[in-house]
Symmetry: C2
Subunit: 454 residues, 2 copies
């Protein structure tokens, strides 16, 4: 609806009304409207962008995805680009640079002031996935000898350039982190009190090299709005704000889902990803898993004669493999998520395996009884006379063994991956399914040859 | 390490040191330490709880899980319970009540002041999963004729009882929501300015009946610290704060993972969940999926003679079903997540299916070529002479059809679920696998009977 209003104002050339309208809107909504107008009406996004009041142009800019940002940059003059960049936070510029091709990066850096360039280059040096790579260097720092009044005056002056003013950090002349004080404390205490007296010195901090996911979890665990980042000498170098932490957690969850779906994660949204890119993110896993199915093929091939003499056995192959796969993914996904949430640790391995053992015995027994009864009643009727008590016994015993194997392996593999410092999610369903499929068939034919003597 | 310090202070009966130590710690850490001491050293948690300074006891209390909270409540005297309850936020008490058995609920309500009881009962009436059920009623409200100075004085007075002071809401005498103003704006503007002049009147709000997940997404999308909740007449009744929104998003993600693992979600952490409860959360899905495997059984049974005449065909059943399952979950998980992130909408259905169609054609063709070559080279060598060009052709053609079917169905079912207002995640892997398994076999035997004439 708002997009239509924007469109009609644009069509009528009511630029003044347009500017007034845009000045009232949220930058995130404006970015969406501009993208929608470009896509549906073919309006030039750079032309629309130029209509934005300077005060919000940069805020809108950071909301665009990298494709749009790149096109926009190439359409902007050096002066326009420099204006936008000067309004952006350093960490947003650093993020932008990481997504742009070399020639655009050159142009961006050329249009930053020397001081800004230095700050941005410093941020770019932190390794991907580290706290340093997501931190903001624009925070409010105070000194312990300041009074509340001094602090409030300082905040008033520096606020426009800061990521947040709600948590301020107290440092000494060597920039060592000594404590923090919230805006709430400043607002509710007498103005003559000193910061040193009021600050909280029991401060939770992380270092620049800490894993960004751990940092994000720490922030949400303690319900903080920001977390200070220090260097190896406990000097304050940045903060991670809650919204950046939420972005990290979202990305990590999407990665876990992608790995479970046997897809290489992509950062662009589904509809914007070209078909060939989707193909490339999916085919390696499909090929890999198809080739590993050679093992199940080999097992069936080895028992070909047994199968030929009792074709009824083939009837239960899909059910056994399916149940094994489901049991395996129940355990593996439970363990992967519990590890990821920090509910279990590697030292709990014995407890976890013991628990899965007990659960699998009850589950296996329950499934076996149901399947036994089903084969000698329903299946005999539906699938014909081949279904006798010995087949039922074979299938039921196999079920118990398969459930046990699937649940233990499903729980153990993510723990093993974690022990080897791999992402436990790579041990999700597809891999476990392959392993469980192979084992299921081996167990099935072994039990069958014992009971049916084939 | 800190837990050990706490333990040794307790063992030495140094209660004064203990209190001093606890007063410095974060409530979340204290809750963890008390639970750990109870579990590892058999220390009475209520006895430890009583040592806490009154100011932080309630903050520690809300961090306990429901089992611990229930035990603790039964150990506390009415007076102690009333003290803890009076320090708690209404929405925390309401959450607690929802998790307690009837007799405990009675005791909790009896120990609340009449005013508190009224507030809590009002919160309890909102349906599960609504914005009303997660909102806090303790927010700062201002009037537009107040000056910044008035507002700051008001905040100073009411701050201790409020969920947040960083976003204040501007209402009129009928409690209609007219705008909001941040603490940042208050801190950076002249004290004589009026709130009406400075407030942002373009305010994003939700109603009490809105879905809590949508509310949480809105909050994180706009990077807000709190979102106002209004009733049907636009009267402000509460706020949803960022930390409650994060909790909602976490829960929803865990539910999605659980559904994909074919598990009924539980709220208690894995290690604390009894074996029988885990069994109950897993067995219904295993039984259901085992019974649906009757279809695959029936198909194999129907083609028993064909299979008997060409047992080599059985070799590829696991591979075909596995590849189909993997293709299906790649598409379904992609669509489920994109829906959940709001990247795609139901109106994009045609676009999505067209995209999956193209991807599946390329994937299918690629897999078919690889498999064809593999069968007439590697498999012939590994699996014996049964592997000829006709078998290779049968398997390859089946692969293309299976990949196509799996990807289209995998994308379509979550969209259909969403259309029917069901959670798209219920259409995740296990259900799609069953459907794809059945279809794969039907396609396989049909292609085989055409090509091999069996």
């Amino acid at each position: 609806m708002k997009t239509e209003l924007l469109f009609s104002l644009w069509e009528e050339n009511s630029f003044q009304k347009l500017r007034a309208f845009l000045a009232e809107e949220n930058p995130i909504d404006i970015a969406e409207m501009l993208e929608a107008l470009e896509e549906s009406e073919g309006k030039s996004l750079p032309a629309l962008y130029r209509l934005l009041p300077k005060s919000i142009a940069a805020e809108v800019f950071v909301e665009f995805d990298s494709d749009t940002a790149e096109r926009l940059i190439s359409a902007l003059s050096d002066k326009e680009l420099a204006e936008t960049l000067s309004e952006m936070f350093y960490n947003d510029t650093a993020d932008l640079i990481e997504e742009m091709p070399a020639n655009v990066v050159k142009r961006i850096l050329k249009n930053c002031s020397p001081d800004d360039r230095k700050e941005i280059n410093r941020l770019l040096k932190f390794p991907d996935g580290s706290a340093g790579s997501i931190m903001s260097t624009e925070f409010v720092s105070l000194h312990s000898e300041m009074t509340v009044k001094d602090a409030l005056e300082h905040i008033r002056k520096v606020a426009p350039d800061k990521e947040t003013v709600y948590t301020c950090y107290v440092i000494d002349e060597r920039r060592t982190l000594n404590g923090f004080i919230t805006a709430l404390t400043l607002l509710t205490n007498p103005v003559e009190k000193s910061i040193g007296e009021l600050m909280e010195s029991n401060v939770i901090s992380v270092t620049t090299n800490d894993n960004r996911e751990d940092v994000a979890k720490l922030l949400t665990k303690y319900g903080l709005l920001a977390l200070p980042v220090v260097d190896s000498e406990n000097r304050l170098v940045g903060i991670v704000a809650i919204d950046d932490a939420i972005d990290v957690l979202k990305e990590e969850v999407e990665e876990d889902f992608a790995v479970m779906a046997a897809i290489t994660p992509t950062e662009v949204s589904y509809l914007k990803t070209p078909v060939f890119t989707i193909f490339k993110s999916r085919i390696p896993w499909l090929l890999l898993l198809m080739f590993t199915a050679t093992f199940t093929g080999m097992i069936i091939s080895a028992f070909e004669n047994a199968l030929a003499s009792k074709v009824a056995l083939a009837v239960f192959i899909p059910m056994l493999m399916g149940t094994g796969g489901n049991c395996g993914s129940q355990s593996s996904i439970t363990v992967i998520r519990s590890l990821s949430l920090g509910e279990i640790k590697l030292s709990d391995t014995i407890k976890i395996l013991a628990k899965e053992f007990k659960v699998s015995i009850i589950c296996g027994a329950c499934l076996a009884v149901f399947e036994f009864v089903k084969i000698i009643t329903l299946d005999r009727f539906l699938l014909g006379n081949g279904m006798d008590v010995l087949i039922a016994l074979t299938v039921s015993l196999t079920l118990i063994a398969v459930v046990l194997f699937a649940k233990i392996v499903g729980a153990a593999l993510p723990l093993a991956a974690s022990k080897l410092h791999l992402d436990p999610a790579v041990m999700a369903s597809p891999f476990i399914t392959t392993l469980v499929d192979t084992a299921s068939l081996l167990i099935y034919f072994s039990v069958a040859s014992m009971i049916l003597g084939i």
